[in-house]
Symmetry: none
Subunit: 156 residues, 2 copies
DNA sequence: ATAATTAAGTCAAATATAGTCAAAGTCAAT
DNA sequence: ATTGACTTTGACTATATTTGACTTAATTAT
């Protein structure tokens, strides 16, 4: 039996998928009602699953006519996706950030499953085995170096 | 009368056997309950019987809706070459060692050119930016981790 | 303007899982 | 009887999810 957060995540992604535009607007209370949960659960889902690292941008408005808008960040080229990620890596990278990023790259078909596994294994905390905050800095440099390689790859 | 660990091992393998997919998801507490043992016994069974060396890959999630997922993996055909290299990496790796290894893997067609570049960029001294001898240890661990994932490729 | 109403946001406690580690127990081979 | 490998157990830790009380912001009504 799956948890409700995963179900709501799947639902929202499905709605984005079939949407004409690349964003959707939801009413927090309606979604909470639909899934029989408290409204703040929707915030939880958004904060843990629709992050910038995973390629989403969220905006909202309170009060009458309020909404939560979830936008899938679309770049024109793969190179742009990589630049975007590299930029956000400049200030260190936790393991979960690395995981989100790799999963996103896989999703956008910028890397293969094998490459995803290579990157994840290289940036795993049990691999680096360094004390914080050094570990997060080294991880960030490793990720940046690899993504740079992907970005400026001479075509074979 | 066999011990409980062997019985649980047999049970889990049976479940994998009859499963449609090549992986299963269990709830640690449920299995512990079924066999009347403490939950950590399940970890013991998994750590001793469902290791990568025996051809399994285990993932898990804590919290509500948590699970333990056990997957079957298959060995890469070039597994022996990789084992060989991994063994020789146990005592640290200089950058030139890393380069030699990557070229050998490329030559033996175990990795692609793109993968070669990824591995080299991750293990470069300007990426790691750590003082010796830490740097060579971290490089070795990174290489080992990456080669390990190549060796045990999930069949999914 | 001000108050009332309608939304969304925050945060921490409660709950639900799984992981770690070391002490204690078991058993077969000296 | 002793040793050593393997197993069992449970206290403690780590992490993810769920829930709800309280806060903040925007709009609407007076």
């Amino acid at each position: 039996m799956r948890n409700i957060s995963d179900i709501i995540e799947g639902y929202l992604k499905g709605v984005i998928e079939v949407s004409e535009r690349d964003y959707i607007e939801i009413k927090r209370n309606e979604v909470a009602e639909k899934f029989q949960c408290v409204p703040s659960q929707i915030n939880y889902v958004i904060n843990t699953r629709f992050t910038a690292d995973r390629g989403y941008l969220v905006e909202s408005k309170r009060g009458g006519g309020g909404y939560i808008r979830i936008k899938r960040i679309r770049h024109h080229t793969k190179s742009d996706v990589l630049s975007d990620i590299i930029e956000r890596l400049e200030h260190g990278a936790s393991q979960s950030m690395a995981e989100d990023i790799v999963f996103r790259l896989l999703n956008e078909e910028i890397i293969s499953k094998r490459e995803a596994k290579l990157i994840l294994s290289a940036s795993d905390r049990t691999t680096l085995l360094l004390p914080l905050p050094t570990r997060d800095d080294v991880r960030a440099r490793i990720l940046i170096a690899m993504l740079f390689t992907l970005k400026y790859q001479s075509s074979i």
